[in-house]
């Protein structure tokens, strides 16, 4: 296998966290989501009764009075999620915190430490998670993220499915096309009209056919299903010095556009200060909004002219923000990554002072460079954040002192 991508999915995650901390719940039908009035997670015993996600609580009470219906405790679930990511990081540094109950990891090359077998490695990760968190996970391994994700979905709960290249075709033959990550019900119906009902039938179509009949993202899905890696695993803790990241979680979560933009502005200032210290400029900017449910919404901005000027980068972010932002969603964190960093002396001074991909004029960048040299001097003399962008002010106002990283330990109640 050229690449080995792992996908891990916590089985009935919220309900499993509750059971892990309370033995009185073990083996019983448990549902979370009381405060929302709908089931947000069900233990396997509750699933066996026919309770599904989104089922109203009043209905569950009426039909199944024996079910334990609990309030969601997102703080505890987030602590368990952090533990899941950290345990997987013992095996590989390339872990993407995809959501509160899921992560991707790039295992490529690390099999050598586990007897040369990705299956063995995946099994060790799965068993460590089970041993230390006392809950089960469904695990998939494949040459791409899409294949890893469909693999983990195969044997739930507590499954382990490894898709080596020789197994892919047989596996996709049994996979309804609507079960592929990224193919929704509408597209699935569309595809069935075109005579495609399994994932195998989809990959047997030509790339031209896909381009002619489907929207652009499905070309990527098509490649990934064949085993051609397109999607990268995005590690949150990027050790790679070719990129710089600033991210901050805020409480309470917010859907205030101006506040979110000012958080991003502050992230950008942090990134750029680091980049200037290392005398580097970025060729790409990624930013993300992280929702209260731990979903990441990312956007990538390619820069034709490498930059480390925060006001310029902020302008690009502001102009693309509406592609990512949803006013009805509560966000808990923002982050900005500067990637493709190159030393400043390699940044070509463009003859025509021309542009970034988004049509930005580089005019005046040299002047900005001078300004930020002065800002850095002031910060050095009077402490960081002495001078900030106006666009970051809102974020600084709400920050309220330096945050202390506390170790969170789940409380299991009383012991006799």
């Amino acid at each position: 296998m050229k690449r080995a991508i792992l996908h891990i999915d916590g089985d009935s995650f919220f309900a499993s966290c509750e059971v892990s901390l309370n033995p009185r719940l073990r083996g019983l039908p448990v549902v979370t989501g009381r405060e929302r009035g709908i089931a947000t997670a069900m233990s396997k015993e509750a699933k066996a009764l026919g309770i599904h996600r989104g089922m109203p609580v009043f209905k569950i009470k009426k039909l199944f009075p024996q079910v334990k219906i609990l309030q969601s405790d997102y703080g505890t679930y987030a602590t368990f999620a952090q533990r899941m990511y950290t345990i997987v990081r013992r095996f590989t540094p390339y872990v993407e915190e995809y959501s509160i109950d899921e992560c991707f990891a790039d295992l490529t090359g690390f099999d050598q430490l586990h007897g040369g077998s990705y299956e063995q490695m995946a099994r060790e990760i799965k068993e460590t998670l089970k041993r230390e968190l006392d809950m089960t996970f469904s695990v998939g391994v494949g040459p791409t993220k899409v294949l890893a994700k469909v693999a983990s979905g195969r044997n739930k709960p507590d499954g382990l499915t490894v898709l080596t290249p020789d197994l892919i075709k047989g596996f996709l033959r049994d996979l309804p096309v609507g079960k592929v990550w990224g193919i929704g019900p509408a597209t699935s119906i569309e595809l069935q009209k075109l005579g495609v009902s399994t994932a195998l039938e989809l990959i047997e179509k030509s790339e031209d056919w896909i381009e002619a009949n489907l929207a652009k993202p499905y070309v990527v899905t098509w490649h990934e299903l064949q085993g051609n890696t397109i999607y990268r695993v995005h590690p949150e803790q990027d050790e790679d010095y070719k990129s710089i990241q600033c991210t901050r979680t805020f409480t309470p979560p917010s859907s205030d556009k101006n506040f979110l933009l000012s958080e991003l502005s502050k992230n950008i200032e942090g990134d750029c200060a680091k980049a200037r210290r290392a005398k580097l400029s970025a060729q790409r900017i990624y930013y993300f909004l992280k929702t209260q449910e731990f979903r990441y919404h990312r956007f990538e901005i390619p820069l034709l002219t490498p930059l480390s000027v925060p006001s310029k980068i902020m302008k690009e972010v502001r102009e693309t923000f509406d592609a990512v932002y949803r006013p009805e969603v509560l966000y808990r964190a923002t982050g900005v990554t500067m990637a493709g960093l190159i030393p400043n002396e390699f940044v070509q001074k463009d003859l025509f002072h021309s542009t970034s991909l988004l049509g930005q004029n580089r005019g005046g960048v040299e002047a900005w460079d001078d300004i930020f040299k002065t800002v850095d001097k002031l910060d050095k003399r009077y402490g960081t954040h002495t001078v900030t962008l106006g666009s970051s002010l809102e974020a600084f106002k709400r920050q309220g002192g330096a945050s202390v990283r506390r170790l969170k330990i789940p409380y299991m109640g009383e012991v006799v």
Binding site: L21, P23, R24, R26, R83, T86, I87, T128, R131, E132, L133, D134, L407, I409, P410, Y411, M412, G413, E414, V415, V416
Partner: protein, 123 residues
């Protein structure tokens, strides 16, 4: 981070050494495997002779193999219980550190959830 002031003898009174040795983090001192660590509160006096009292917080670690003689958290009748892990012949059982309590012999399999790593008491 907490600054270490040196050793205090519990036997005879001495002047506590005022020399600053180093700083230490309680997290690091008490916890080895962060991801596998959990907290519980002690109820009752069944472990009193092991120096564990009602109201103490205990730090336990999951996934660590329990050895005979360890203090463990086991699941008995849908409750957590903190007891010594003992063995008679080939049979494992739980023993309190208080004569008032009888040993617990599991009816089926003994389910050990975690091993005791530290006790915290606030005065």
């Amino acid at each position: 981070m907490i600054r270490m002031l040196g050793l205090v003898e519990a036997g005879f009174p001495t002047s506590a050494g005022e020399e600053l040795l180093d700083t230490m983090s309680l997290d690091e001192y008490l916890i080895e495997n962060k991801e596998a660590t959990y907290l519980l509160k002690v109820k009752g006096d069944s472990m009193i002779d092991a120096g564990i009292m009602e109201g103490d917080l205990v730090i336990v670690e999951r996934g660590r193999p329990a050895r005979v003689g360890d203090i463990v958290v086991a699941e008995v009748d849908r409750e957590f219980t903190l007891k010594y892990l003992r063995k008679k012949g080939s049979e494992m059982f739980l023993e309190a550190a208080n004569k008032k309590y009888k040993p617990i012999y599991p009816k089926e399999e003994l389910k050990i959830l975690a091993v005791l790593r530290a006790v915290i008491r606030k005065y």
